[in-house]
């Protein structure tokens, strides 16, 4: 499954993602990785609890590794810039520029 297909899958199955900024980072962007690194930035509370349930279901047959950050944590760490995170929405609409991974 390509990174773009993974992004499609997540965005299609996790309705609560619309409340968050969601990114992919790490080795899956460039081919085979041991796991699929996802960053979620946004609110806590019930919205986050619901999103976690959806991500858990979406990752039934995928090695998802999801990091959840509050917006302030992302600002402190500059995680998106530092790890060259790509928005899932951008990946889902791109399709072909990333290499293929095995699933």
């Amino acid at each position: 499954m390509m990174a773009s297909e993974i992004a499609d899958h997540l965005m299609g199955t996790c309705a609560s993602l619309k409340h968050f900024d969601a990114y992919m980072f790490g080795s899956t962007l460039h081919g085979v990785g041991q796991d699929i690194d996802i960053l979620i930035v946004g609110p806590g509370g019930d919205l986050l609890a619901q999103l976690k349930k959806e991500i858990h279901c979406a990752g039934e047959s995928l090695p998802l590794h999801t990091l959840y950050m509050q917006p302030s944590e992302e600002r402190h760490t500059q995680f998106v810039a530092r790890e060259k995170c790509i928005p899932l929405a951008q990946l889902a609409s791109s399709g072909s520029w990333l290499s293929r991974t095995e699933t």
């Binding site: 590794h65 959840y68 950050m69 095995e102 699933t103």
Partner: protein, 212 residues
Amino acid sequence: MNWQVRYALASFAKDGASTAEHVGGDLIKIMTRDRPDVLAAITTAETIDQATATHYREQVEGLDFLCGYRTQCIWEGGAIQYLEENHVGWGSFGTLGSAALKGDANSAPHKVYKFSDRLLRQYGRIAKVDREFDRIHRVTLHGGATFRIGMIADYEPTADEVRSLWARFGPVDIVWNINPNGTPQPEAAKAGRELGCEVMKWDELKDRLSKI
């Protein structure tokens, strides 16, 4: 072939230091030059308890290593003790790859928690260590005081990781950021205070234990 085995084989093929082949089911064989072959089971279980560990060991003759493929895989203390007593290595996929290269797969523990577990056991003021989970240790000091310590290995522990640790494992006294280069975020410390625990690094933990 199941998905975790496909990922495991693809990762070994990409890395190139060892070669790996599918044996059947969850089993793969890893071959490394001048090192013993490794028979490993790759499981997607989110929690590995003693029953799971026993099942794999009894079903797989010659099992060297049990690998929890998911990054978030949790190992219960009973499973860890059982596997170690029966000379089966255990841990993450990264642990498996390293152990195959070192040639010690059937004695290797999860490398993320290996050194922090050892630090607690070797610290002179601690009389007893009960490992409840891979990352949850109850330590008893010589004076009788006990602390329940939860470990977070991430480089920058977040508030969500502190809350998730508490929600999954129950109350802890201390959240220990075991990454030597880690820096807990202020939000993580705040979350800890709200829950009733402190988030700290090894030097602070050692200092805390020495003052009891």
